[in-house]
């Protein structure tokens, strides 16, 4: 059990990591069919993988809160209350849940190799759960029918799969370099 101060700093740390990754210019790969992918959800995955369920979700909530206050911290320099009136609001509000589920799985799979457990956790939390919240959000905000919204969202899945792999590789590197940093396993 670590001190509350350290928890606080670490929550702020991952919130800032998610923000910093959002400011990295998006890039597209042939593998993703030309759809630009941002590194921001990678930060959400890392928050869940590294911090565990509660602190991971709090880190994401902190980021969303500061965004709502008006800081342009989302990918593409977006911020302010406007982002919560956009079609992707379901994905934004799904992020804390995604981080929570990712952290929960990471914690319960701690006996497995970190590469495997991080892959399973990030895939389930930040793809399955996140899209389960985000796609109905698109339907609600845009009146598209579910099938169309679903198909449209699928364009981003290849990029997210790459991010799951990258998150797992980062988790393994951190485990080698600074094992104490993977709080979800301690």
């Amino acid at each position: 059990m670590q001190s509350q101060d350290k928890n606080l700093v670490q929550i702020a740390l991952y919130a800032a990591v998610i923000a910093a990754l959002g400011l990295v210019p998006p890039f597209s790969l042939p593998l993703t069919g030309g759809v630009p992918i941002t590194a921001q959800t990678l930060g959400v995955m890392l928050a869940g993988i590294m911090l565990g369920p509660l602190r991971g979700a709090l880190a994401v909530l902190l980021l969303l809160f500061v965004t709502a206050l008006g800081a342009p911290l989302l990918a593409g320099g977006r911020g302010g209350l406007g982002v919560f009136a956009g079609p992707s609001v379901g994905f934004l509000l799904g992020w804390p849940v995604a981080a929570f589920v990712t952290g929960l799985l990471m914690k319960s799979l701690r006996r497995l190799d970190v590469l495997i457990s991080a892959t399973i956790a990030a895939f389930t939390g930040c793809i399955l759960v996140l899209y389960a919240i985000g796609v109905p959000g698109i339907v609600m905000m845009t009146d598209l029918d579910f099938a169309t919204a679903f198909k449209g969202s699928m364009a981003f899945v290849p990029g997210d799969l790459i991010k799951v792999a990258v998150a797992a590789l980062i988790a393994r590197t951190v485990q080698r370099g600074m094992p104490s940093a993977i709080l979800s396993r301690s």
Binding site: D5, V66, D143, V174
Partner: protein, 210 residues
């Protein structure tokens, strides 16, 4: 835009409530006429603080790709006309929310949102700690951007290839090391419970929380 328009002078809490009320009215609208009227109304609000249609369009640029993609999906599913109304409604709400953010300082927004944070005190997170977390996070972002810049510069000095994700792990390790020393410094000064909060516009997290 003048720094102090009538909207700047409105209280943040009132603007938030007005935004909330307006979105409740706007969201169920499906007819082209009422939605277009609402859009014109929001545009007029922008004019009233000195932002003409050019500046308004510039604000829309970041969301245009997404709106175009959604319009395409509506076209493909054969609901283009209804889709246009929905997208216009979406843009109207976006612009209004944007207007509130543009005319409200982060300190005031923070103070206005504080009542909404009170439930967190029940699970052991007092508003003071949330304020500290906000301030810490805002300070971390430029520090982390500098770490990323340094790493990618070092990478470019060594390689002609693009680093892509290879910098992420060293980035995270450096960020974690930074956070460790910040946590130690915080503890050495009596912990988050002992931090003196001051009323300074440049550090929004510290304002009006003590």
């Amino acid at each position: 835009m003048a720094r102090s328009t009538w909207l700047h002078r409105c209280r943040a809490g009132h603007k938030l409530l007005a935004l909330f009320a307006f979105s409740l009215i706007l969201l169920p609208l499906t007819g082209l006429l009422p939605v277009a009227a609402a859009a014109l109304g929001v545009s007029a609000l922008y004019y009233s603080i000195g932002l003409g249609w050019r500046r308004q369009l510039a604000l829309l640029v970041p969301v245009l790709p997404l709106i175009a993609a959604l319009a395409l999906l509506h076209l493909l599913s054969g609901s283009l006309l209804a889709g246009m109304v929905v997208l216009l409604r979406l843009l109207t709400l976006f612009m209004l929310a944007n207007l509130v953010s543009m005319t409200t300082r982060m300190t005031d927004m923070m103070a206005a949102m504080m009542p909404a944070l009170r439930p967190f005190a029940l699970i052991g997170v007092p508003p003071r700690q949330i304020a500290l977390a906000v301030a810490l996070m805002l300070r971390f972002v430029p520090v982390f951007m500098a770490i990323l810049d340094g790493l990618s510069e070092a990478w470019r000095a060594r390689s002609a290839q693009r680093p892509r994700w290879r910098l992420m792990a060293p980035f995270l390790l450096q960020a974690l090391a930074t956070a460790d020393s910040v946590a130690e410094a915080l503890q050495a000064r009596g912990g988050s419970a002992g931090v003196a909060l001051n009323n300074d516009d440049r550090s929004p997290g510290f304002a009006k929380s003590g």
